[in-house]
């Protein structure tokens, strides 16, 4: 195989030498062809839909605020979730969110609907204080009707004491 390749290269070189109109000369200046015309051939990429909202790794992917039992206080560790979405909404005035408050399964349907509302309202108020306009937000409650976690223990209950920012 190697012999064949060598023969091929040798014969190609001889052919090229035969075709060339310029004599190969060590003293001939090396002309740099890369400068002129090369930039005209580069292609830059444009991404439409780099909306940070759609980035699964971005900060806006976190859309839930969790609450302690019988509480509607936004805990410090969730303040960043609210700040990130508030920033996004301020720079995307055409976007609207519905904030859905939830409760765990204990207690009556209507009273829990009102408790879930307090959680949604707490998130809405925080975003409003950060400058988001009222017309971009609606705070509603799902009460205990749409639990994310279905168990009957504290870990399931904690998962359901939650407000979600829904676009």
């Amino acid at each position: 195989m190697r012999t064949l390749t060598s023969v091929f290269i040798l014969s190609s070189a001889l052919l090229l030498a035969a075709c060339s109109s310029t004599k190969l000369d060590d003293k001939a200046p090396v002309v740099d062809h890369s400068a002129s015309g090369a930039d005209a051939r580069s292609v830059g990429t444009v991404n439409t839909g780099t909306d940070p909202l759609n980035d699964p790794q971005g900060v806006l992917a976190k859309r839930s605020v969790y609450f302690d039992f019988d509480s509607y206080v936004v805990k410090p560790e969730y303040q960043s979730v609210i700040e990130n979405h508030a920033k996004y909404l301020q720079s995307h005035k055409d976007r609207k969110v519905i904030i859905q408050g939830n409760t765990d399964a204990r207690g009556g349907a209507e009273y829990n609907l009102a408790l879930g509302q307090k959680r949604a309202e707490a998130v809405r108020k925080s975003m409003s204080l950060l400058g988001v306009s009222e017309s971009q937000m609606e705070a509603v409650s799902l009460g205990k009707e749409k639990p994310k976690a279905l168990g009957n223990d504290e870990s399931a209950w904690a998962e359901n004491r939650r407000a979600d920012i829904v676009y």
């Binding site: 349907a109 009273y111 609907l113 009102a114 509302q117 309202e121 609606e138 509603v140 799902l142 009707e145």
Partner: protein
């Protein structure tokens, strides 16, 4: 496969799907779990020619009176019509205080004519008689009306057998608002949805149901005409809309709205117009319920910390606190006769049905279960229908206000919740 096999298979498949469709209207199973302290022994005869009708009248009457908890049924073992002579001494000797007889005949226009008589064997006199004409599809109502009359004549309170109940079932991802007769028969689906339905409320004339639907990703109050299927949005303001309660004259509904930023009580016309705010507290005011005379509204409020039950005028204004025991009292329901308040109280971690005697302030716990919700009085004020949990599934239960009579209503599959007892109807 040859064409004949194919036809057979197609036919079998059609039958199969029909059967499935019938079972999809899941049967509501009613079990008696407790009876009254005193039961009137009553003999009930088979009615003359009653097998010509789609349902046996005497069977309906027997089942209703047995379920009521206040009667002990004695089978006469034979047919006795309204013309059969009654040997009072004989029946008294057999232990019956009363005896029921009757007949069914077919009218030329296809309706059924049901006749019945009720006799008192002790006083040896006729207590009541009735003749009812009924279309075939409503024959069970005729049976229930006879049972209602017997209940009234022997207990002094109208029976509530010819009434209906509404409730929500959840099976897999499907929610259904269903209407059934008070004995669990005749189930009809009023609404099917992939999103939750809560808080059904009967209009006073029994032809419409208000409810909260989450089909718009938020709670919205609808009124649905059960006959025409027409739906009206009664409240879809910004925020959550819930807890509909009809005024006794059917002209308006009290609702809980969060449009002001906190959940408060408003009243709105049945067509959705003329919204007025009634409550004014800083926290949660919800679950409004009109008193039977329409003058007051009972409601749940957390204005003193935890949820308690309050009463205010139907035009709003100052509220008076009604519940003082326990830190969590919700879901107030006032009996139609105005004597009792039923509610759910959380004590020692359990959510249980309680009854408050409004004349003397005495409180009585009515259940032994731990997750009771949504109490609803029968229109004769004698029983409470409520939601509870058994074996991890949502079921319904009925208890008499004296705590003795008990029933369980369950589905074979799925959860049943949010029950509401319908009104008396013609």
């Amino acid at each position: 496969m040859n064409p004949m096999t194919k036809t057979i298979l197609v036919r079998l498949f059609a039958i199969f799907t029909l059967l499935i469709a019938n079972f999809a209207h899941a049967q509501l199973r009613v079990e008696i779990a407790g009876v009254g302290a005193n039961q009137i022994p009553i003999a009930i005869a088979a009615f003359g020619d009653e097998s010509i009708a789609p349902s046996q009248i005497s069977a309906i009457v027997k089942a209703d009176l047995a379920r009521s908890g206040y009667f002990r049924i004695i089978d006469t073992g034979n047919v006795m019509t309204e013309n059969t002579p009654v040997n009072y001494a004989d029946w008294k000797g057999r232990g019956a205080n009363a005896i029921v007889v009757g007949s069914v005949s077919r009218l030329p226009d296809g309706r059924f004519d049901v006749k019945y008589r009720l006799f008192d064997t002790v006083r040896e006199t006729q207590l009541s008689s009735m003749a009812l004409s009924s279309q075939p599809q409503y024959i069970r109502v005729a049976g229930h009306k006879i049972a209602d009359d017997i209940y009234l004549k022997l207990l002094g309170v109208p029976g509530a057998f010819a009434t209906r109940i509404a409730y929500v079932t959840k099976s897999g991802r499907e929610y259904r608002l269903e209407i059934a007769d008070s004995d669990g028969e005749g189930v009809q689906v009023a609404l099917r949805s992939n999103e939750p339905i809560i808080s059904p409320a009967w209009s006073p004339d029994g032809t419409k149901v208000a409810y909260v639907s989450f089909e718009n990703r938020k709670p919205v109050v609808y009124v649905q005409d059960l006959v025409t299927r027409k739906r009206t949005v009664v409240a879809n303001f910004k925020g959550s809309n819930s807890a509909p309660a009809w005024s006794p004259d059917g002209s308006k509904l009290a609702v809980a709205l969060s449009r002001s930023g906190s959940t408060q009580i408003y009243v709105v016309n049945a067509d959705g117009g003329n919204l007025r705010r009634l409550s004014n507290s800083a926290g949660i005011d919800t679950e409004p319920q009109f008193s039977a005379d329409g003058q007051s509204i009972y409601f749940t409020s957390d204005r003193s910390g935890g949820p308690q039950i309050y009463k205010m005028s139907a035009s709003g204004g100052d509220a008076r606190r009604v519940t003082f025991s326990g830190a969590y009292n919700i879901s107030p329901r006032i009996s139609p006769d105005g004597k009792y308040l039923a509610y759910i109280s959380q004590r020692s971690g359990k959510f249980q049905l309680y009854l408050l005697d409004l004349s003397n302030g005495q409180e009585m716990r009515l259940s032994d279960t731990a997750r009771d919700e949504s109490p609803s009085f029968s229109p004769n004020s004698k029983y409470i229908l409520y939601a509870t949990s058994e074996g991890g599934r949502g079921t319904l239960a009925v208890v008499s206000v004296d705590g003795n009579v008990r029933q369980r209503l369950s589905l074979q599959a799925g959860d049943i919740q949010e029950p509401k007892w319908g009104p008396f109807m013609k």
